[in-house]
């Protein structure tokens, strides 16, 4: 099963796990399965009208899905999906 890496700021919404396994054939389905498993995460990834938020970047392995087929990008077993949100801390 593909695995989604959960970044620190979002781990509190997935029972503090660093990664979640999903059943899915595409990026869009993988994210849907993720928020179905962890509904608290939904508002952090999607806008109220169901679009992925602009500051949330999704990577399939080391490629930005915006430069693949976006949410239609195919995923297979063993693939690693990353959610890369912006963080700003420095002090």
């Amino acid at each position: 099963m593909p695995k989604i890496h959960i970044p620190t700021p979002l781990r509190q919404y997935v029972g503090k796990q660093p990664a979640v396994e999903v059943k899915a054939g595409t990026i869009g389905a993988a994210l849907s399965d993720l928020v179905a498993q962890h509904p608290d995460l939904r508002r952090h990834l999607y806008t109220d009208d169901g679009k992925l938020r602009a500051f949330v970047n999704v990577y399939l392995n080391d490629e930005d899905v915006r430069y693949l087929q976006k949410e239609a990008t195919a995923v297979k077993d063993g693939d690693s999906i990353s959610i890369v949100p912006s963080i700003a801390g420095g002090r």
Binding site: V84, S86, A88, R91
Partner: protein, 390 residues
């Protein structure tokens, strides 16, 4: 590709003392006399002398960077010392600029330090950046991140980027001619409040050390023109699992600041862009707020008030006022532990999370809920001075 330096390294020489000091650089072929003179000619601007700025400035100063600018308006406090290693206990209360400059001069008296005692803004950034070759971003908030990026793109200076949260960091080199900028990766900032700051979320003390040293490494590589800089790559650092991962970044042709048809040609209002009035946004006092003195008086009078503490269990261990602990995130599933007929006072550390708890409870039909203004910090300041503050 080496960064263009305005001061020509060929015009400089090293004194015998400098040759001795930089001996370990001079004997390696990747640096040598040529590289050391490039370092001496280089002018690097560090934005912030805090968590990332501390190791960054210390290593760049030691390495022989000729001119270092530091922009900071802050004062050293006790909570900084766990990670901001350029400052020491005796510096608490001093300007970070003065404290940092003193340490840097002690390490390397050849260093030319330029202190800018100001908050970086749209009014001063372009002028400031033009006087330097490379900008190292060690700030702590989204408006300044976008400001640094745009000012770098507009002045053509590389933005050596690092950022941290808890035990996770990111590093990259943005805004070079051939590479992507911060906006190519994050076209829009997150709405305020969705991503917690280090002050709210905490940060492992060593993490800015790890990330700041990666930034210093990238600055030095850019000056020397050696190795593979982090251009077009985002390095993700997970200190807890000690895993480093790398993601590909692409220059977005539609990027408003570095794309083929840029729409941002001058600096904008970054607080407005990020939807906030600044990092230290004061929490609004609402009619439902209760002051710490009033809570103390009413508790002492034996009134039947239910004190709800919405912080995390590890915070409760640091200090508490005996409230019933339900962390904010658990409130929806544990709301049945509360009695809506009773008057409830919710509190957290500073009043931000408890304000969210009060909103939630009101929506859930609770009518008699108050937010303790200023949280347990205000309690420590005004009611119980023996209580520790964190």
């Amino acid at each position: 590709m080496a960064t263009t330096l305005e001061v020509k390294p060929e015009a400089l020489t090293l004194s015998n003392e400098e040759i001795q000091r930089y001996s370990r650089h001079l004997i390696m072929p990747e640096v040598g006399m040529e590289g050391q003179l490039k370092l001496k000619a280089a002018r690097v601007l560090c934005i912030g002398a805090g968590g990332l700025g501390s190791p960054l400035a210390l290593y760049l100063g030691a390495a022989g960077v000729g001119t270092m600018g530091i922009v900071d308006f802050d004062v050293v406090d006790y909570t900084n010392l766990q990670r901001q290693i350029i400052h020491s206990t005796a510096d608490v209360g001093r300007k970070k600029l003065d404290s940092a400059a003193e340490k840097l001069k002690a390490i390397n008296p050849f260093l030319n330090i330029r202190k800018f005692d100001t908050r970086l803004s749209s009014d001063n950034a372009l002028e400031l950046f033009r006087e330097f070759d490379i900008i190292a971003d060690g700030t702590d908030n989204f408006p300044t991140r976008y400001l640094v990026n745009d000012a770098c793109a507009l002045t053509g200076k590389p933005n050596v980027y690092g950022s941290i949260f808890r035990f996770e960091g990111q590093a990259s080199v943005f805004a070079t001619k051939e590479g992507p900028c911060y906006r190519c990766l994050y076209p829009e900032p997150p709405p305020p409040g969705l991503v917690p700051s280090c002050a709210e979320g905490g940060v492992l003390g060593i993490l800015p050390g790890l990330v700041g040293v990666i930034q210093a490494t990238e600055v030095i590589k850019l000056i020397l023109g050696k190795g593979e800089p982090l251009i077009g790559r985002l390095l993700l650092i997970d200190a807890l699992d000690m895993k480093f991962r790398e993601l590909k970044l692409r220059k977005n042709p539609g990027c408003p600041v570095c794309g083929t048809h840029p729409t941002i040609k001058q600096l904008i209002d970054y607080n407005e862009f990020c939807g906030i009035r600044g990092e230290e946004k004061p929490v609004e006092t609402l009619a439902t707020d209760i002051e710490v003195e009033e809570l103390k008086r009413r508790l002492d009078a034996g009134e039947n008030l239910f004190v709800l503490d919405v912080r995390e269990p590890h915070e409760y261990q640091i200090c508490n006022i005996g409230g019933h602990l339900i962390p904010l995130g658990d409130l929806p599933k544990r709301v049945n532990e509360l009695d809506s007929s009773q008057e409830i006072v919710a509190h957290c550390r500073s009043g931000v999370r408890s304000a969210k708890a009060v909103d939630f409870l009101r929506q859930a039909g609770f009518k008699k809920v108050h937010n303790l203004a200023g949280g347990i910090l205000a309690w420590a300041d005004r009611v119980d001075p023996k209580m520790p503050k964190y």
